[in-house]
Amino acid sequence: MTHIPFADQPHEDHHPTSFVAKYVWSQDHKVIAVQYSIIAIFVGVVALVLSAFMRLQLGFPDTFSFINPNSYLQFMTLHGMIMVVYLLTALLLGGFGNYLIPLMVGTRDMVFPYLNMLSVWFYFVSVLVLLASFFVPGGPTGAGWTLYPPQTILPGTPGHEWGIILMLASLAIFIVAFTMGGLNYVTTILQARTHGMTLMRMPLTLWGIFTASMMGLLAFPALLVSAVMMALDLLAGTSFFMPKLVSLGDSLDYSGGSPLLFQHLFWFFGHPEVYIVALPAFGMVSDVLATHARKNIFGYRMMVWAIVIIGGLSFLVWAHHMYVSGMNLAFGFFFATTTLIIAVPTALKVYNWTLTLWQGNIRLNSPMLFAIGFVFTFIHGGLSGLFLGNVIVDVPLADTFFVVAHFHMVMGVSTVMVLFAAIYHWYPLVTGRLLHEGMAKLHFWLTFLGAYAVFLPMHYLGFLGVPRRYFAMGDTLFLPQSAHTLNAAITVFALVLMVVQVVFIVNLIWSLRHGPKAGHNPWGATSLEWQTPDVPPAHGNWGARLPVVHRWAYDYSVPGAVQDFLPQNMPDEEVERLAPDTDSAVESKS
């Protein structure tokens, strides 16, 4: 049998020429990455606007007539679902995964380019189906992003007829899209690495993306199964999740189903999902920190193992989202324990990021600022997570704003911080131009401080007992007047925070034309994506010959070397060594 190695796949020689083949029906991973990113950022903005509506209602109740209890729930559901699935998952894996994997492993494209193209189009359709639910009778579903039955499909929940069907259909399409993409990411990393690129020489970004893709492939099926079974309950009258119940005075035909079963399935997907979003972010932030501190990442092997162990353990903690579901206490104890164990590798990573910075030659540019901002917000969200991981603390705090504050800090703000760091870091590679640094720094400070102003006070509201998913507090006696004032203040900060993002969007568009030319490798980075012959990389990435890898991705400030950094594809012969006496002088200084 003759087998064709990926390096010489025949499809490289016919470069697409027409506009449509190049930018619309493209099989080039870089174009697909940009398509993914643009769609994701667009729905992300939709979700942001929805949160503005919610904040307006919470801060200034009885002021806005277009927000009623039903629409509040609909905004909340769509906001949560879009942010977690359609923005973060799609942008991190579909966007950054697609762009970086082939470049970082030193290959010309994904292993299955056609499948990759289908993936982005399925994603696009899933977004259209989701947004269509705003225009159907009854509007989108308002069941909360967790979609718990039985209330999801009962009259009384907004969107219980059309909205929920579109939501389930959209999720199913998204999962198909993700699976086609994920199979590509995993196979490309395992099979298409260039000569010399061993697994342990890969940048941590790849480890994060690889583990997250693997987890996504195994976790999304749980959501698919629950979506299919719920759709059958809704459309065919089966009783997978629906118990015998009376609704609005009518006894329904359901009997024998178990809502709890849905919760298990959902969180078997839902918790790993948190890490599907977090692990690529962990990886990317490691590389940004190392590059801009001009130091190797502290404890590389430990970091790799931490990523893999976190990935594995996160399949064993799902029921910590269900402490208040009436489960067996022994169960609760088991899940509290696994939850606290997962904190160990996570904390290790935080130490290693901090130690990477220690005595580094830090450049405080915009990617670095966002990366450091991430370390702060992640520590913060992680600590409140330790509180909630304990059954006894969680029970009073569950379903209060403390939880809202926690998950926004840990997976909303932190991940978004990394996304900004990554965009500021890799934009010069994608477009060939640098972003405007002044605007970028303004964007950072306002976003960082704004995020704290919005989400820190929410912890306090949670302690007071302000419930989440409530349209209005009304004249609740246990809430002091100050809680209402605080709510109004949060809303003002949130609106400012949102308006600030305009600076970012303007910067992205303005710099496309007017940013200073980036040239080759503006940051002096070692990993392969910066070593392509053309910037931005051309179709096929590498010109005539694939790169050959001689070292790991973190050779910054190597003792004895003249160069400040050694790219991964630099052979040993090209490294200029210092004369022996100066060598020891450098060594004693550091």
Partner: protein
């Protein structure tokens, strides 16, 4: 390099010997990529079915659950029809295997016939499953009747969908081979399809097993899996 060595590597100090070893490995072949993708895909399908099995076993412990086998009047008290369907699928798998062996011996025509037979038998299986549906629903066991019925339709339908997907790929391969495609290329494609076929046979056997157990066996499985 063995896997243990791979993860124990110290990437920051590439001794000359290890570097040379690293350079020796490079990008895999397209076939290796496709095979890896198929294997991961099979793991995903297994997860889908495992989750459905787990919820099925959980349901079997709820009051009001009426298994489809066990009592003499229940639809699967007599499993002849199920065994017959199994036979179609098993023969189809066998035909695939024969086709692969014939192709390896460069007997393209014989392989083509075996593949046609496999496709035909697989289609027969899907039709037979469909007629089984008709029989069961004719006996009054509707989709929405009892969770056990729902699972019967759900599991067989999802299994059949996977088989239809495979059938689509197989028919395409038959077409290509008929048009005189290179045997070497068809061999890789056929060997992947054959793996998929065998997998679906095992999967069907599991579905069959699970749907026709008695309440006592469900109880035992549930206790064993900690779901009871």
């Amino acid at each position: 390099m063995n896997p243990f060595r791979k993860i124990m590597e110290k990437p920051w100090d590439p001794s000359a010997e290890e570097s040379a070893m690293a350079l020796a490995i490079g990008p895999g072949t397209q076939y290796a990529g496709q095979r890896l993708m198929l294997h991961i895909f099979l793991v995903i399908v297994s997860v889908v079915f495992l989750l459905m099995f787990a919820t099925f076993i959980t349901h079997s412990q709820f009051p009001g659950f009426q298994p489809l086998a066990g009592e003499p009047w229940s639809p699967f008290a007599n499993t002849t029809a199920l065994w017959l369907n199994t036979l179609w699928l098993a023969l189809s798998s066998l035909a695939m295997h024969v086709a692969l062996i014939r192709l390896r011996h460069d007997a393209a025509t014989q392989a083509l016939w075996a593949m046609l037979l496999a496709a035909f038998l697989a289609a027969a299986f899907v039709l037979a499953q469909f007629s089984l549906w008709r029989t069961v629903s004719g006996m009054g066991y509707a989709l929405h009747g009892n969770p056990a019925n729902s699972y019967f339709y759900l599991l067989t339908a999802v299994h059949a969908l996977h088989l239809l997907g495979g059938l689509f790929v197989l028919v395409r391969a038959i077409w290509l081979l008929w048009r005189g495609a290179e045997t070497a290329r068809m061999q890789t494609s056929l060997s992947l399809s054959t793996t998929y076929w065998h997998y679906l046979l095992v999967l069907w056997a599991l579905v069959f097993f699970l749907l026709t157990r008695s309440p006592e066996t469900y109880r035992a499985i549930a206790v064993f899996c900690g779901l009871g």
